[in-house]
């Protein structure tokens, strides 16, 4: 019944999906935190840039960003991100595009977390003479992160689903392989079931696990 799987590296394709997810998750967590710090910083230019970035990026289709990394960054500006072969270049470009897009959502989730830290915490920190970076890095962000595990889990699951867009620039991940298999094999329903099951396996346990973590991590007030 599952003969059609022969000759196709389904597990390899899903492994690419997982790798896209993990690298993009790490990158967008870092860049998203930096953006959130900019949006609450005392420097008006940085605040303005952070707001502008989030508003622009959240309103562009991810497909446009991903295709732009290939058409604009690689083919026009010659950015190859230190890679030699097309497969590796496209993979890295896709990760870059996913980071650029996802970090806007990470930034907004973190900002809502910053708002949950009680005013007294910040006032106490400032009364001790801590500067902005110290207040943010030692007092506010550690508490904010603990309260936004849930929202960040939503972003991570959305990111997992969004990695399929990398198929638009030929990254050999699950959706691209699914399209290839649909074209070549007859068992449309079975093929679709296999790929749907793959994404269920990736997204549902992540949601359950991080839901549990978010309840454990949340600061009880």
């Amino acid at each position: 019944m599952f003969d059609f799987l022969q000759g196709y590296d389904v597990l390899g394709a899903f492994w690419t999906t997982v790798q896209l997810t993990l690298w993009s998750a790490i990158g967008s967590l870092l860049w998203g935190t930096a953006l959130a710090a900019m949006r609450v910083s005392p420097v008006p230019v940085m605040r303005g840039f952070g707001t502008w970035y989030v508003n622009v990026v959240r309103n562009i289709p991810l497909t446009v960003i991903i295709i732009f990394t290939s058409l604009g960054l690689f083919q026009t500006l010659g950015v190859s991100l230190g890679a030699g072969t097309f497969t590796v270049i496209n993979f890295r470009l896709a990760v870059l595009g996913l980071i650029a897009y996802t970090s806007a959502f990470v930034c907004e989730a973190l900002r809502s977390g910053i708002n949950t830290v009680p005013l007294g915490q910040v006032e106490a920190a400032r009364a001790l003479g801590l500067g902005f970076t110290q207040v943010l890095g030692l007092i506010v962000l550690p508490q904010a992160f603990r309260s936004v595990v849930g929202p960040l889990a939503n972003v991570l699951i959305a990111l997992t689903k969004n990695t399929t867009v990398a198929a638009a620039i030929g990254v050999p991940e699950a959706a691209l392989l699914m399209r290839e298999m649909i074209e070549n094999e007859a068992q449309l329903i079975l093929i679709s079931a296999v790929f749907a099951a793959g994404f269920l396996v990736l997204t549902l346990p992540t949601g359950l696990f991080l839901g549990w973590v978010s309840r454990k991590a949340a600061v009880r007030r």
């Binding site: 230019v45 289709p61 849930g150 689903k161």
Partner: protein
Amino acid sequence: MSSVLYDTPGPRARRRSILYTAGFLLVLAAAAWWVVTGLAEKGQLEWSRWAPFFTDSRVWTTFLLPGLENTLIAAALALVIALPLGAVLGIARMSDHWWVRGAAGTVVEFFRAIPVLILMLFANAAYAAFFDVSPERRPLYAVVTGLVLYNASVLAEVVRAGILALPRGQSDAARAIGMRKGQTMRYVLLPQSVTAMLPAIVSQMVVIVKDTALGGAMLGFSELLASVRPISANYGANTIASFTVVAVIFIVLNFVLTSFAARLEGRLRRGRRSTGAVVAADAVEELATPGEHVGHKPEPPARS
């Protein structure tokens, strides 16, 4: 909040702020310089490549506007079909019968957990294999079907959240005057929750518009993003120019929708005549995530 994170700047803080501003602007300028010189080197900044968008109306009438029209048609169709489906699923998820609740829940969780592109690819192949849809219409059908399957399940959660957001007194009062379950839903809960859901629905519209671009890239649906290729073929390889124009149209369209959702939400929260129940515009991110109660956005503590 931003103002409580730091003290009012004194002379030293002000000097440092100016230093940071200058450094940051320098970085931005360097990045801009790199992009501009890179584009100029490839001749992408030549006026002849950008001029058509300002001087030749045929770019708009032949490519961009029909593309935008297809984007909007697909998005509108998807929303119009997904809304009633979502309402049915959402209400079924709150049913008193476990099998109705369970079936609706399974459908909703399944389609929320799967990327919309997978659904579109499946729909595209299914229309080709099992239905008599002409090849020209198939991409539109596939895009709308994929969007409907996904968004019906997200909107089901929006509907459920909207009904649950209403004060309990509403259904208690309906029961007290002898209404049945169906009557309570039809005459009391649904009409009020529609108002509460509006910001989230408009916000979901942004997600739908963005997802239509997938059809252009992967299924050959001739929407706005797909118009880049014929434009650059007809107007001297102006890929960057046409890409920029398309991106700006998307940003403006979605920014208008996002702002509209925020204004609606603000109005509902301030409103005195309604119950004050509202499904926030940014709640759709959470409602699009599979799994029960995964990430409730933390409530900020009350500030004095």
